[in-house]
């Protein structure tokens, strides 16, 4: 099953200073968000494989768009996350079908590596609902400077029969990280954790 995409929205955020202190170079994060028709809205469907395929399609497309919006080669991405908001006629399991089985592989392919779990969040909501996309380091989930989140929302979505799907990519951690823990420069990046 191919996604029926109504719109795609990309967001780029560049933080240049925080509390009056310059962030050099600026921290940057991007999200690409697709608004798709929920093929299973309004009914209980046992087999969600159509949405699983859509997850794979969107994983590739949204990652490509987010990386392009940052203007970097995929391998330079440092952290990532994914999320979905299901309109009122769908179920949370629809978000799970998109996000969990197949979306990750094309994300990792586009970024060169990605040993770490892709952190995720999901919810059901109405048009304009805010999605907080969790962010974690792509190769080592314990990198504390890269624990973050990015709020995205689309004013007119999800309609009742739609799903909003987001992939977020950064080229950096938080501005002025100073709460210790594992550093980006210290990771091995083999087990996805450290």
């Amino acid at each position: 099953m191919k996604a029926n995409i109504r719109k795609i929205v990309t967001f780029v955020e560049e933080t240049r200073s925080e509390m009056g202190r310059a962030v050099t170079p600026p921290t940057r994060r991007a999200a690409a968000v697709a608004v798709i028709e929920n093929p299973y809205a309004g009914q209980y469907v046992e087999d969600l494989s159509g949405l699983i395929d859509i997850g794979e399609e969107l994983g590739a497309m949204l990652t490509e768009r987010a990386v392009a919006a940052l203007g970097i080669p995929g391998a330079q991405a440092q952290s990532y996350g994914k999320a979905a908001a299901v309109g009122e006629n769908g179920e949370l399991e629809h978000a799970a079908a998109i996000l969990h089985p197949k979306l990750g592989a094309p994300v990792r392919k586009a970024l060169g590596k990605g040993a770490a779990l892709i952190p995720s969040s999901k919810k059901r909501g109405g048009p304009g609902v805010a999605l907080d996309v969790p962010l974690g380091h792509k190769d080592a989930a314990f990198v504390r400077s890269h624990f973050d989140g990015m709020e995205v929302r689309v004013a007119d979505a999800p309609r009742a029969n739609e799903i909003v799907v987001a992939v977020a990519i950064t080229d950096s951690g938080r501005p002025h990280p100073r709460v210790g823990g594992l550093q980006h420069s210290e990771i091995k990046g083999e087990d996805g954790l450290r």
């Binding site: 719109k7 795609i8 929205v9 967001f11 780029v12 240049r16 200073s17």
Partner: protein, 194 residues
């Protein structure tokens, strides 16, 4: 010249393929760029503020060019525009009005001389406030197919002593434009109206 202190910048691009009707051959694109800046007049009444308008001119041009770049880089592809400002709670609406001249003229300059008045919206509001930025045709305000708006906002801004400055551009008519009125193909484009 007082420098403009930019905390962060956000670019949002929407690619709209359809809204329940026939799929557009080329998606309608709607985009906005936001700068979160320090309000130099926050917390007190300052009589003489108009000079800050000049200080914002380089930022306006930089934002207009970045927005065109986000829409593919061709100024000729831009058909609609708008602007807006959200002033943090320690400022006044008049501070937002300082954006009219630098924001508007920057877009005209970057687009090579658009004729129509740039529609605008502004308000004083808190962190995370949303603003509906009005959009009209760049050369003829009465073109009905191009009346539109884009909702924007910054999750962590404007803080009380900040201003969010916004420019918006679009690449054509609404995706399923069929409400009649003056068409873009019928305009004279001399008086900015028709």
């Amino acid at each position: 010249m007082p420098s403009v202190d930019i905390r962060k910048r956000i670019v949002t691009v929407e690619d709209i393929f359809h809204e329940g009707g026939p799929k557009a051959a080329t998606p309608y694109r709607r985009a906005a760029i936001l700068s979160v800046i320090k309000n130099p007049f926050a917390g007190r009444y300052v009589e003489d503020i108009v000079g800050f308008s000049d200080d914002l001119k380089p930022l306006g041009l930089d934002m207009a060019l970045a927005l065109i770049a986000a829409l593919g880089g061709d100024p000729k592809a831009i058909q609609g525009y708008g602007k807006g400002a959200i002033v943090g709670a320690a400022g006044e609406i008049e501070h937002g009005a300082l954006w009219h001249v630098p924001g508007g003229y920057a877009m005209r300059e970057a687009l090579g001389g658009a004729k129509a008045i740039v529609p605008s919206a502004k308000k004083v509001a808190g962190v995370g406030a949303r603003l509906d930025v009005p959009i009209t045709h760049i050369d003829a305000s009465y073109v009905r197919s191009h009346f539109d708006a884009i909702e924007i906002g910054v999750v962590d801004g404007p803080r009380a002593d900040e201003i969010v400055l916004v420019l918006a551009m679009t690449t054509g008519a609404r995706v399923h434009d069929r409400a009649g009125g003056l068409k873009a193909s019928e305009i004279k484009g001399q008086d900015g109206l028709r």
